[in-house]
Amino acid sequence: MLTILVLVPFAGALITAVMPARPKAWAFGFALATLIAGIVTMFTAPDTDLVWIEPLGVHWALEMDGFGKLMVMLTVVLVPLVMVAAVKDHDKRWYAWALALEAFALLTFTAGDLFLFYIAFEATLIPAYFMIGQHGGPNRARAALKFLMFQLGGGLVLLGALIGFFVVSSEAGSPSYLISDLAQLDIGTNAERWIFVAMFIAFAVKAPLFPVHTWLADTTEQATTPTSVLLVCVLDKIGTFGMIRLCLGLVPEASAWATPVVVVLALISIVYGAVLAIGQDDLLRLIGLTSLSHFGLITLGIFAATREGLVGAMLYMVNHGVATAAMFLIAGFLIARKGTASISSMRGLEKATPVLAGSFLIAGLATAGLPGLSQFVSEILVLISAFDYHWLVGVIAVTAIVLAAIYVLWAYQRIFTGPAQLSRPVSDLDRREIGVVAPLLVALLFFGFVPGPLISAASPVVEPLVNVIQAGE
């Protein structure tokens, strides 16, 4: 079943690529099919475990715990939405790549084998590279290259960890890459630390964290917003997903050892990203950089390694996905109208586009962690865990809420308020666009008040992690 979940979008990608007529409709159909498959797997998803590459101990092992479910749902829901959003200015190549990206992302989130995880982890980059490079701003080629170089660089470092695991696993007996087997492995302290460092670097690039974040803004600036959504809201989650699943899950002692450094990086990311966002004139860069701040918070939650922190981080990943997707898509609609992403060239748009403005504000406030919108719950949980870790960490992390208010509201103020100056008529969101944004906004509100389903999915995953970490300490 899980295999089908992965194969459906993959097949869709192939079919879309070769389909001469109505490829976008086909792609959308496959995205919907994946959504259905995703929903079905929520309820019935037996794990898969087939031997794949025997000499290396690699298995085609798919499994899905609550955390995986969250990420899978996020993915399968976002893809059809961005496909609708993308319909006007993207060609079929983009659709095929998007489906391929979805397939690999799903594979990452369900991989029960480290090798498989890595392969999917890296494989996502190719679709992403083409999606960035083929559609978007004038400097997209450079941005795509930069994106890919950072990601592949991180990926290669992760390869080091992967090989390290193999060596240790071989020495312990027959090699196996099953995550469940690796978790049992007794790795020496030194090796474990090196493996952790390698994995963390890779995930930090992916997530991203300071100081390996510089690809982020360039990429979001040049890529089209549907692409950015898939990148930031789905793909980057793999980074934090990996931190939880692999860093905490496989090398908990080393994680605990490294926590002080990680926390400092996370804090820098939080503040630094927000400050950078404040200073942006390009709306898409701004949104991209807000994610830096948010990923800092997620990382903080993960490595504070309390129940609240982990649950918060997992929730945050979902909520950030929804909120940022909304931000990007709305910004995309806005930019499609104005023909520029430069904030300084917009003013007073609220009058002509009240719905657009309202949606932007809601999404923005969600990003800023306003209670009642979904991101708040995760944010407060993370803050609590950060404070629990050390009061000073909490104090620094909490500045995020002020800085977030500044960048969101200042952007809103500059774009939408003030006397309207329209050189040409600007229309409000049309039905299609509302159809894209509305589900996201509803989700933001719904999970703001009823995060229960998300938490109950995440909690069982957190429990063993917390136990292991506390035992490790």
Partner: protein, 514 residues
């Protein structure tokens, strides 16, 4: 005194067949009418290679594996036979590329009259009449035979002779390009002079090793070395012999010929040579170092490690600043040598050890480089192949399939998952790390990042850059090239997606024996 050597023809016949085909080719050249030569030579070569490949498979599956023959001159062991098969496979592709005649108005990539001076009426006449040197096929067959012998050489003398047998035809083939004759001849001269120089060094090392051990047999050398420990004689011998082999593989600082020759040689030759030579040379190197010099591992590993590091770093870095596609791939070949040397640093194990890693890497790299150069030969302008990177811009739009296939090869060379190159890279790194060579692995990872840059930039140029006015166009090739490219691409992907069978085969094949 004379004892008849026990030559096991059952295991040797594929090699002999290839050499026989080469001789037959010479006969054909002498007696067959001009019109019939091309077809005869190509079919002869293909048939010979296919038969030899089948034979290799049979030998590999047979029970006589692991036996030495000719009183130890040749060792028909698993890895040796595997690399032989690999050489044959890429050579099949090579023949197909050699035989490509649709790209350049019905003539092949080889000079019509090598003896005619470039730019003279004689040359033009030769071209107009569709003349070509069908001697390239026997030459190639000789080289293939040499490579196959190189893979299974069991003593130093055999090693030296095989080295020369494979090298001489390559020197000649390099100089036979139809277009850009001057470059081609220059490449041939450089390759030849440096090749001769390095084989001189190799030979001197051989002499020293013989002086140390008193025997030519690799196994006996290994025994003596294990017994007597390291003597300066042996060490110097190892060093000088290593230079000869490292030269062939293109390791820094013995790499300088690589980019020049790769660029200057006719593209089909580059394609085949880059794959086949590397396979043969590494097979021989593995055998030499593990069997004969295995006991001195602690001594040569650091040196090889340093060379690996230099090779990876410089190869990758230089490739970054190239503007010619062939030359860039040449430097990339240097970088790959570095990665392969990383694998050499590991140890032979029963399961997945460095032998398996290196051979798998060679498999993946062989197909990728064969396919990549084959595609290079398709991308042409008014004056033949277009090397300039800038003129490849926009190829992804005008010829998405060709560009995509090229991207697959590049990605494999870059070592991205779902391509054979990834498993290969994984393997050599794992082998080295398993032997505790983590600093080299760290550098290898670093240089992989550099290497990825130029592969990915190439993709960027093809897909995301607007074409220039004098943009290159893709010429539709004949089936031969198409099949080679397609099969290489399929192999590249399959090796990444289901590497299990090949890996199992390698594990079953075991290690090199003396």
């Amino acid at each position: 005194m004379f004892e008849s050597p026990g030559i096991s023809y059952a295991t040797l016949w594929p090699v002999l067949l290839v050499l026989a085909v080469a001789c037959a080719g010479v006969v054909v050249e002498a007696f067959a009418p001009r019109a019939a030569r091309f077809n005869t030579q190509v079919s002869l070569a293909l048939a010979g290679l296919v038969a030899a490949l089948a034979g290799t498979v049979a030998v590999g599956a047979g029970s006589s594996l692991g036996a030495s023959t000719g009183e130890g001159a040749l060792i028909v062991d698993g890895p040796g036979v595997f690399s032989q098969g690999l050489v044959l496979l890429v050579s099949l592709g090579g023949v197909a590329l050699f035989a490509e005649r649709r790209l350049d108005n019905g003539v092949s990539a080889f000079a019509g009259q090598a003896a005619a001076l470039p730019g003279t009426p004689a040359e033009r006449t030769a071209s107009q009449r569709g003349l070509e040197h069908t001697e390239v096929y026997p030459l190639m067959m000789f080289a293939v035979g040499g490579m196959m012998l190189f893979c299974i050489s069991g003593d130093l003398l055999m090693l030296f002779v095989a080295l020369e047998v494979l090298s001489l035809p390559l020197y000649l083939l390099t100089g036979l390009a139809r277009r850009r004759r001057l470059l081609s001849q220059e490449a041939a001269l450089k390759y030849f002079l440096l090749g001769a120089f390095s084989s001189g060094i190799f030979l001197y090392g051989l002499a020293l090793v013989y002086g140390f051990a008193g025997s030519m047999s690799l196994a006996e050398i290994g025994d003596v070395a294990a017994e007597e420990g390291s003597s300066p004689l042996l060490l110097l011998g190892i060093g000088l012999m290593a230079v000869g082999l490292l030269f062939k593989t293109g390791a820094v600082p013995f790499h300088s010929w690589t980019p020049d020759v790769y660029q200057g040689a006719p593209t089909p030759v580059t394609a085949w040579m880059s794959a086949a030579t590397k396979i043969a040379a590494f097979a021989a190197m593995l055998r030499l170092f593990y069997v004969a010099f295995g006991a001195e591992g602690d001594i040569w590993r650091p040196a090889i490690g340093v060379i690996a590091v230099l090779t990876m770093l410089l190869g990758a870095s230089f490739a970054v600043v190239q503007t010619d596609v062939k030359r860039m791939l040449g430097y990339s070949a240097v970088a790959h040598t570095g990665f392969l040397l990383t694998g050499l640093l590991g140890v032979q194990t029963d399961a997945f050890g460095s032998t398996q890693a290196v051979l798998f890497y060679l498999t993946a790299y062989g197909f990728a480089t064969l396919g990549a150069f084959a595609i290079v030969s398709l991308v042409r302008g008014p004056n033949g192949e277009v090397g300039s990177l800038e003129r490849w811009a926009g190829l992804g739009r005008s010829n998405p399939w060709v560009a995509a296939t090229f991207a697959v090869f590049l990605l494999s060379m870059a070592g991205l998952p779902l391509t054979g190159g990834f498993i290969g890279k994984w393997g050599v790194f794992a082998a080295a790390l398993g032997a505790g060579q983590w600093p080299v692995v760290a550098v290898a990872i670093g240089s992989s990042i550099i290497a990825i840059f130029f592969y990915v930039r190439m993709i960027m140029v093809m897909f995301f850059t607007d074409p220039r006015e004098d943009a290159a166009a893709v010429v539709t090739p004949s089936y031969a090239t198409t099949v080679v490219i397609a099969l290489s691409a399929v192999a590249t992907v399959l090796l990444g997606v289901i590497p299990g069978p090949v890996l199992s085969l390698l594990v079953d094949a075991g290690g090199f024996i003396g």
